[in-house]
């Protein structure tokens, strides 16, 4: 039996049949079970910040596992405390951290934290994606994801992403929190209009509600900054109350973090929340290795420069009608519904691509993507588009 057959026989069909069986990776490259090499422009969906098999993560995980692998949250470990300290420092405001294992879990913790305000109403945005667990799902706007699982927890109002007036109208003195992605990933890398996040801060502050920013995809250097929201000057002086992280934080090792700032940091009290694996020292050691490497290798600026090159390469094709980019978080719209065919043609040409809609592509490659990788894609891009158009 092939890997594909064995997968189909034993793994729940929640993702559809896998496109490839990958066996190894290095940097921004992966190899399949037939030995074919691909440039990875998806990075495990914005997860493999340092690419594949990065020695810093390998070393950190190996040495931590050889020392202390898991202790439970009845005890503290050095990597857990150090990582929390580092995240608080990077956020630049007094905060406290709750560690979990994924973005959905980070958002679940934030949702529970928001309930501790004594309010239950949450405002979320259209186009949002916050996870698939029941609480996180209640905040995720796509009906196809939500409806089969109603009733979901909540008292959630969805408002048009980017519409400050709609947001102001939806937030009341019953509102516990407004949850927003500073840049929407699943929606196809969608940016809010200028002033929107600052307005969200003002609106929530005036209503006594929490501003909760989901940086699961946009955080940890993805946009060339530690946090995407720090591109908004108003949020430097008036930071969000809650920031959630995951994906790139562990560079491929599962870890989520819910960071609450100021008074919100003390909303969760003993007994309010818990986790078996959250704050696991191996995962925290991996995250520390990611943070250290981003700093040591100057990846924030590398991301900005390489992101610009990749965005320019994507935009060079006449079939591309618009490109939206912040660092290595890039969305592109095509002039026809060929995005799925582009992903298939890309794979044939040796590139791992991703589409978020029928005519929208998303590029969230490893932050260590090289200029050579970008050049290789730029050379192949016209051929990929031609093959896709032929296949449709």
């Amino acid at each position: 039996m092939s890997w594909h057959e064995r997968y189909a026989a034993n793994i729940m069909n929640t993702f559809g049949p896998p496109k490839l069986v990958l066996v190894r990776g290095s940097g921004a490259h992966v190899w399949d079970d037939a030995g074919r090499e691909y440039v990875d422009l998806l990075g495990g969906i914005a997860v493999n910040a340092l690419g594949h098999a990065h020695p810093a993560i390998v070393e950190a995980v190996t040495s931590q596992l050889q020392t202390l692998g898991h202790v439970s949250n009845l005890f503290a470990t050095a990597p857990q405390v150090e990582l929390a300290e580092r995240l608080v420092t990077l956020l630049g405001t007094p905060s406290k951290v709750f560690f979990s294992n994924s973005g959905a879990e980070a958002n679940e913790a934030a949702l529970k934290l928001s309930r501790r305000t004594g309010r239950t109403h949450v405002v979320a945005a259209t186009g949002s994606f916050h996870g698939r667990t029941m609480g996180a799902l209640s905040l995720t706007s796509k009906e196809a994801y939500r409806l089969p699982f109603e009733p979901l927890p909540g008292d959630v109002t969805f408002v048009e992403y980017g519409d400050s007036e709609a947001l102001a109208a939806a937030v009341t003195d019953r509102t516990a929190a407004v949850v927003l992605e500073p840049i929407q990933g699943e929606a196809g890398v969608v940016f809010p209009p200028a002033g929107y996040l600052a307005a969200a801060r003002t609106i929530t502050t005036e209503a006594g509600a929490l501003l909760w920013l989901d940086e699961v995809q946009s955080g940890m250097g993805r946009t060339g900054r530690w946090f995407a929201h720090r591109a908004v000057p108003e949020l430097l002086d008036n930071p969000p109350d809650v920031v959630t992280l995951a994906k790139g934080l562990g560079g491929g090792i599962p870890i989520g973090a819910t960071i609450a700032t100021g008074a919100a940091a003390d909303l969760l009290e003993p007994g309010n929340h818990g986790t078996t694996f959250g704050g696991n020292p191996v995962a925290c050691a991996a995250a520390l290795a990611v943070l250290d490497t981003i700093v040591r290798e100057g990846l924030l600026d590398h991301v900005e420069f390489t992101g610009k090159r990749l965005a320019d390469a994507v935009a060079a094709a006449p079939e591309v009608t618009s490109v939206r980019a912040a660092g290595l978080m890039i969305g592109a719209d095509l002039d026809a519904d060929i995005a799925a065919a582009v992903v298939d043609a890309g794979r044939e040409a040796g590139f791992i691509l991703n589409n978020t809609g029928p005519r929208t592509l998303r590029f969230v490659p490893p932050l260590v993507l090289t200029d050579d990788d970008v050049d290789a894609f730029a050379d192949a891009w016209p051929g990929i588009l031609a093959a896709a158009k032929e296949a449709v």
Binding site: P233, V295, G298, D301
Partner: protein
């Protein structure tokens, strides 16, 4: 313990913010703070040429109620006619603070070791921290923030201004880019130190040889003369190699829409900076020059507060 200001990272991120806040206060109310009342004497020693430094320290010390004592380095012969430790002990018994512009950083380190009073670096071959305090004050005034501001230093990355931008910028949580040709790269030790600081402040440090790439999206473009004091000998070679790193309007056009252009002066128009840039609407060089006074008053006051003397 006596605190000194010998290099930019002598101040922690919190302390740097405190000094800059004080500088802003002193600019608003220049005559209300008398941390040098007495008058207390500040010795200013110049082993190298000066205009802004002497002027701004003299004026600032007077505003703080103190007395600026000018010491001519060429007459004093520090380290030649008299050893640095001896000079430090002598001046330390006359002055409350010693401000020194000199060559090697080891000279000012030795002065600090023996003076018993705060030493302020008014420019060495390696660092120019007083200029950076003024520059950070200027950026704060112009852009409203320091954190997350991207600054690109163009030109001779091995000069004191580039080193100080690396350290002070990283301390302030800025994204510091140095764009310099081969042979003009910053000291690896300084880059390492700045990188370590950046890890704690959310800033970043990068060396990007391509000036266009380095300028793209930057909030601040900064440069310094290509022929720093003491490096006049190989002028022609330097001008050839550095030509493409000139802060031109073309590079400014690649920067952020509200980007500012900075230069610590003296400037050589048509060399490291285009006349249309330094004399244009994005230039803040005169603010920088003025802020030398306010920022230096702040560091003097702050150091004396730590002495328990003011």
């Amino acid at each position: 313990m006596t605190r000194h200001f010998l290099r930019d990272d002598d101040l922690s991120p919190a302390e740097q913010a405190e000094v800059l806040a004080l500088a802003a206060d002193l600019k608003r109310s220049p005559y209300d703070t008398k941390s040098l009342a007495g008058p207390r004497t500040v010795a200013m020693i110049f082993d190298k040429q000066t205009l802004r430094t002497q002027a701004s320290f003299s004026a600032g010390i007077a505003e703080l109620g103190g007395h600026p004592m000018l010491v001519d380095g060429s007459l004093a012969g520090i380290g030649v006619r008299e050893s640095i430790p001896d000079v430090a002990r002598v001046l330390g018994r006359q002055a409350s603070v010693i401000v020194w512009r000199t060559g090697g950083q080891e000279r000012i380190d030795a002065m600090a070791e023996h003076s018993g009073v705060p030493i302020v670096n008014a420019l060495t071959d390696e660092f120019h921290p007083c200029q950076l305090l003024a520059d950070l004050q200027t950026v704060q005034e112009q852009l409203g923030r320091l954190a997350e501001v991207t600054v690109t230093f163009l030109g001779d990355g091995s000069c004191n201004m580039a080193h100080s931008w690396l350290l002070a910028g990283a301390t302030a949580g800025m994204h510091v880019r140095v764009s310099a040709p081969d042979g003009f790269q910053p000291s690896p030790d300084v880059v390492d130190a700045a990188t370590t600081i950046a890890a704690t402040t959310g800033g970043s440090v990068v060396l990007e040889a391509d000036p266009a790439m380095a300028s793209t999206g930057a909030d601040v473009l900064v440069t310094d003369t290509w022929v720093s004091m003491g490096r006049e000998a190989d002028t022609d070679h330097r001008l050839d190699v550095l030509a493409s790193y000139s802060l031109t309007q073309a590079l400014l056009d690649l920067a952020a829409p509200d980007a500012i252009a900075m230069h610590c002066l003296p400037a050589y128009r048509g060399k490291e900076i285009a006349a249309e840039v330094i004399d244009g609407p994005c230039s803040v060089v005169w603010d920088e020059a003025e802020n030398r006074r306010h920022a230096q008053k702040a560091i003097l006051t702050w150091l004396l507060q730590r002495e328990g003397a003011s």
